[in-house]
Symmetry: D2
Subunit: 167 residues, 4 copies
């Protein structure tokens, strides 16, 4: 059975407190034995979450938008080079067992939307909830977490349920 | 100079009144001499807007997610087959001079987000505004229109400004 | 019924005689009432075939690899902006009723291969035949043409057969 | 410094002897401490090379064309889900440090062509050489190997040269 992959989405320019939380989230994901996946670039939530996961001995995957690994974060172990720009946002979410959205802009918003459209479980950790997603929230596909611990608890429940279904 | 391309985004399942408005919008776009572009499938806002544009003698482009034209709306003149699923949403917005968002779900939300991220002018016609987009709204990149006439007026102003900049 | 779309693939740097033939091919495609599709950039077979088709009053579609229309050939009427680099080669062939391959390099080779893989009819006009494609040649999916007239004759036969099948 | 990624391309339906060689190649890649990457599906060269790499304790990445992991080979550790069909062939080669081509059809041919176009080092192990690639062969970008040992020797030389260049 493959390890669960947790996709962490979020902005390329975020305040230091958010970077710290992203690093903490990366650590917590690795501590669960899960793989961290993100957009792979060397900035913001991407660089910080990879740093945390790797510090804890986890595996980190970066799905890069460019033609090569020049802008990959140093803590990305496995750099997937798409050459497809923002079209790689779809790959980010389809490859994730669970998607976590931290503060970010329209890129992160597109990932939340694509994740929901494709049936993925989404956890908002600082990314603003929106009436756009209310049907998915009511269905339990999208939830809000206030702390890293809550993310881990919610993701654990989802992963266990999927295992039970044999996914 | 190429004709302006107006991308009309919106749901695949919408109420009859929305379909009627989509058809009216398609007619108005064609009446301006603009090209209509949408996601090309034979349902909802896509089929209706193409029907309107073609009834007015306009050109209609459908950017299809599938491997062939089997699910193309009959009023799509030019079917672009991407074989890339939702990754084609990026093509929809990058190919458009102006993007109009009618009522829809997460697919439409992803298109609004990707359009804003890539610097496109976005006009909301029934698609709900959201705090997610507030920075873009304040910058004038995103506006709200209440009628098809308002869409045409706003799009005209944008197209003229871009022409003036030589784009 | 939609007009047939003829995809013309070929190099971005080719000798003048090939550019002239590409222009002649573009003219012949337009004269048949077919739409010309190519990779859209302002060089080589792309620019020349678009120039020919437009001179004859035809419609020309360019599927661009970049993020905008800056490098589009001036004779491209409809610029589809993919932002996906070489991944757009798949869009080129999936969108074409028939694919014609003129002299080119590895980009053109990838398009011939992807076209054959996806069941498209391919006509080689100057692009070298290869044992790689022999099974497809034996099956009649790939043929060689020595002149523009032969391309038109072969494409006509294919388009009529597809119409007969109701495609 | 990231581990080298060796992309192994080849057919989904190949003779048993080729599957055995693919498995042997996978083992040899893992024994070098390199990561194996392929198209991820549960057939042919993909399944066999993953099986070999995993048996040797290596990491295996599968870049899947579909919308989910349903058709992933069991020995793929990390399944990247693209939802982009054959457009994922570009991701396969851009993500690889070195591309190895085993016997295959037009899918493999498209990967060889895209790899060469994007400056990747390509080693043919059973995939037929072609005059289409002669310029790249003369430049040393494409070489032919007759055995798995030769592949490893050639890949080692390339990886060392790239490390020396700081790539």
């Amino acid at each position: 059975m493959r390890k669960a992959i947790i996709g962490v989405m979020g902005g390329s320019h975020v305040p230091p407190a958010i970077e710290q939380q992203a690093e903490q989230l990366g650590r917590a994901i690795a501590a669960q034995g899960w793989i961290l996946l993100n957009g792979g670039r060397n900035c913001g939530v991407m660089a910080a979450s990879a740093r945390g996961a790797r510090a804890e001995g986890g595996t980190t995957i970066g799905i890069l938008p460019g033609q090569n690994t020049d802008d990959a974060a140093p803590d990305v172990d496995i750099a997937i080079v798409t050459g497809m720009g923002d079209a790689r946002n779809l790959v980010n979410v389809l490859s994730s067992t669970v998607v976590v959205a931290m503060p970010g802009g329209t890129g992160t918003a597109s990932e939340v939307a694509l994740a929901l459209k494709n049936g993925k479980r989404v956890i908002l950790l600082g990314f603003p909830d929106s009436p756009l997603f209310s049907a998915h929230r009511q269905a339990g596909q999208l939830t809000v977490a206030n702390t890293v611990d809550e993310v881990i608890a919610q993701a654990t429940a989802t992963i266990e349920a999927l295992r039970h279904e044999g996914v």
